[in-house]
């Protein structure tokens, strides 16, 4: 691709998703009953709900389904798939608005997803659901508000909620947890704000709320939470109705906040913890990806960070620069390496790291596309990433570039 900067990576194809190329934080692969590989994509914002792309031939992706949101005051930023069941998150702009919750779809026929149920998580202080994890086909782990949850600070509304979908037509809440001190009425004092921001927008930084919750079938008694300014938490969820903290780590402050993902490497007793860059022009630099020693869950120790390209080169190219989503080693048709980590870093593109020596992560490969046409940022803003079990890399631009399919020579 003209204007791309790369090392050990090749672009196989790009699809701008019918002109709605703003990719959110939901990418999941389905092997359809007829054997096709379907990539399900969430959108960053309205008007689109989700898009399904047949990526059986990664050089020739084809859109097979694209749906619309019911209105413009909401987004479905996240989705996840297990087997032929898909969960889609609905988040509204203003607390109290609807629909806010999760919708389950039967995607046996990917061209025609069939709604099975909707689990309502709206409420006077709730914006609904930002992110969901659904890897075992039984429980959805999500960042959501609740009708009966009133946060002390309006931005702290999305807590950890577990929804039992073993009967997909009748989802029920199985448990919840929030960082002590963030709910109105908590005995624990409210946490001190890391970087106080005005309340003109509820989105963005200055928040003690959940972003990602990761739970792996190999370790069903543990939930790994990225709790934005609250840092990383490991919860014992052997009793889902009563999650308990077994370990936590928070570099914020002095770092500028927004812990996003906590991914355990269960064979190695390590965590990869990512921050999310949420401000343009490196306003919140440095946003890092951390290697954390988790041999003792109750004594988490950072041991290194992933190398990033120079601030001088990328900080002011436009848009965001720094860490965000990583490929999360979920079960299914998915790469599950504990030595090679795939991440997206907004204007620093897709980057791949060798962490075989976790004290010294090394860059193996990267691909930085040129700024896509029609984007509100002058650079590509690589927002989410998925890697299938064959090592094919799928990534989305946040605003206009849509889906990029890449091959890494590693």
């Amino acid at each position: 691709m003209d204007g791309a900067i790369s090392k050990n990576m090749t672009l196989l194809s790009q699809n701008t998703l019918n002109g709605f190329g703003g990719g959110g934080e939901g990418m999941a692969m389905q092997i359809a009953p007829d054997g096709r590989r379907i990539m399900w994509l969430a959108h960053e914002g309205p008007p689109k709900n989700f898009t399904a792309v047949d990526v059986s031939d990664p050089r020739n992706p084809r859109i097979i389904c694209q749906t619309d949101l019911p209105h413009q005051r909401m987004r479905s930023n996240s989705l996840d798939v297990t087997g032929n069941l898909m969960v889609v998150c609905y988040q509204v702009s203003v607390p109290g608005d609807k629909p806010a919750g999760i919708e389950l779809f039967d995607i046996s026929n990917p061209e025609n997803p069939r709604s099975i149920s909707f689990f309502d998580m709206s409420g006077p202080h709730s914006r609904g659901v930002h992110c969901a994890w659904f890897a075992d086909g039984e429980f959805v782990h999500c960042a959501s508000g609740a009708a009966d949850f009133e946060p002390r600070h309006p931005r702290d509304d999305q807590i950890y909620r577990i929804v039992d979908v073993r009967d997909p037509a009748h989802p029920v809440e199985a448990g919840r947890w929030w960082m002590p001190g963030t709910r109105k009425g908590d005995a624990t004092p409210a946490p001190k704000r890391v970087r106080p921001m005005p309340l003109d927008s509820l989105r963005g930084p200055d928040a003690f709320r959940l972003h990602n919750a990761n739970v792996y079938p190999e370790r069903p008694d543990r939930a790994y939470l990225g709790y934005i300014d609250g840092g990383a938490f490991i919860l014992d969820i052997s009793d889902m109705s009563d999650p308990k903290v077994v370990g936590s780590w928070n570099p914020h402050p002095p770092y500028p906040g927004f812990t996003h993902t906590v991914m355990p490497l269960l064979n190695r007793d390590l965590l990869v913890v990512t921050d999310e860059c949420v401000q343009d022009d490196a306003e919140d630099w440095p946003k890092l990806s951390w290697m954390v020693d988790a041999r003792k869950e109750d004594n988490l120790i950072p041991i290194s960070t992933f190398p990033l390209p120079p601030l001088e080169e990328f900080g002011h190219k436009g848009g965001r620069f720094g860490s965000h989503n990583i490929h999360e080693n979920r079960p299914g048709p998915s790469m599950r390496s504990e030595e090679v980590i795939y991440g997206c870093f907004f204007n620093a593109g897709v980057r791949i790291y060798d962490i075989s020596d976790p004290y010294r992560p090394e860059t193996l490969a990267y691909y930085i596309p040129p700024g896509p046409e029609g984007s509100r940022a002058p650079t590509a803003q690589m927002n989410d990433i998925y890697v299938d079990e064959r090592g094919i890399v799928y990534s989305v631009d946040r605003w206009a570039g849509g889906l990029y399919i890449l091959e890494a020579d590693i």
């Binding site: 490497l265 390590l270 041999r295 790469m335 599950r336 390496s337 504990e338 976790p358």
Partner: protein, 259 residues
């Protein structure tokens, strides 16, 4: 025409740069190893060549313990604990699954052998425990060709292949890999396939994806205890017994392998 199989250099344990470890110790390994002593086992590097006997817990070379410590071990059971301790000490800090596997493997080894007894004899039935194959953890393997019986190089000219654990039974190297093919990049899988092709039946790769796979591997490998020649010995042998015992060549009889 049968071609002599390449020798295998294996670095193991807390090694952050296999190449450096090999550069530092490879030549010494090759110098020690020869027709009369095929192969070499050190504390970070092993040279596994045709004719090398199985590498067991009681194979000299890997176990680090000063004489004063050994003298202080008054019970046979302490020797088992010493082996376990040293093996765990070899394990890199972030090889958790391998570490847990070794723990279970040694428990199975103890179960298979008679309980340790302090009979005062040079050997005893419980020493079968030390005939357990020694797992070399966090292994990096590279092949070295030879010409006219001489190793061509002690450097890893062809790169290393990483294996979570390897065990040498005198005939073949068993390589254990956690996580299946999806845990490796396409190139890592290609390199592994190339190595497997090159070594033929001298290499047995086993993917351990589930706890059941791990248990099965433990069962198969512990059964190798029985193949060890008797009498069984502990991890320390008197000077005169350090070399292969007269009975051992039958076990380590190796053939030239066709490529």
């Amino acid at each position: 025409m049968a071609v002599a199989a390449p020798a295998m250099f294996v670095t193991f344990g807390k090694v952050s740069s296999p190449l450096t470890a090999l550069e530092r110790e490879g030549a010494a390994c090759a110098a020690v190893a020869g027709p009369d002593a095929p192969g070499f086992l050190g504390r970070q590097v092993a040279l596994i060549d045709q004719g090398m006997p199985a590498i067991r817990l009681n194979t000299p070379g890997w176990l680090s313990a000063p004489p004063s410590l050994v003298a202080a071990l008054t019970h046979r059971a302490d020797l088992r604990l010493l082996c376990r301790d040293r093996l765990q000490g070899l394990t890199p800090p972030f090889a958790a699954r391998a570490s847990r596997w070794i723990e279970r493997y040694l428990l199975a080894a103890a179960k298979a052998a008679a309980p340790p007894q302090d009979t005062g004899d040079i050997t005893e039935a419980g020493d079968r425990y030390f005939a357990t194959l020694l797992p070399l953890v966090a292994a990096h393997l590279t092949c070295v060709d030879r010409k006219d019986g001489v190793l061509l190089s002690t450097r890893a000219d062809q790169g290393f292949v990483s294996l979570d654990l390897v065990l040498w039974d005198g005939m073949k190297l068993t390589g254990l890999l956690f996580g299946g093919t999806a845990a490796r990049t396409p190139r890592q899988n290609q390199t592994l396939a190339k190595l497997a092709k090159r070594l033929g039946n001298r290499l047995h790769l086993q993917e351990l994806e589930s706890p059941a796979d791990e248990d099965a591997a433990i069962g198969t490998l512990i059964a190798q205890q029985e193949k060890a020649p008797q009498p069984w010995f502990g991890p320390y042998r008197a000077e005169g017994f350090r070399g292969p015992l007269p009975i051992e060549p039958a076990e380590r009889k190796c053939h030239a392998f066709a490529e």
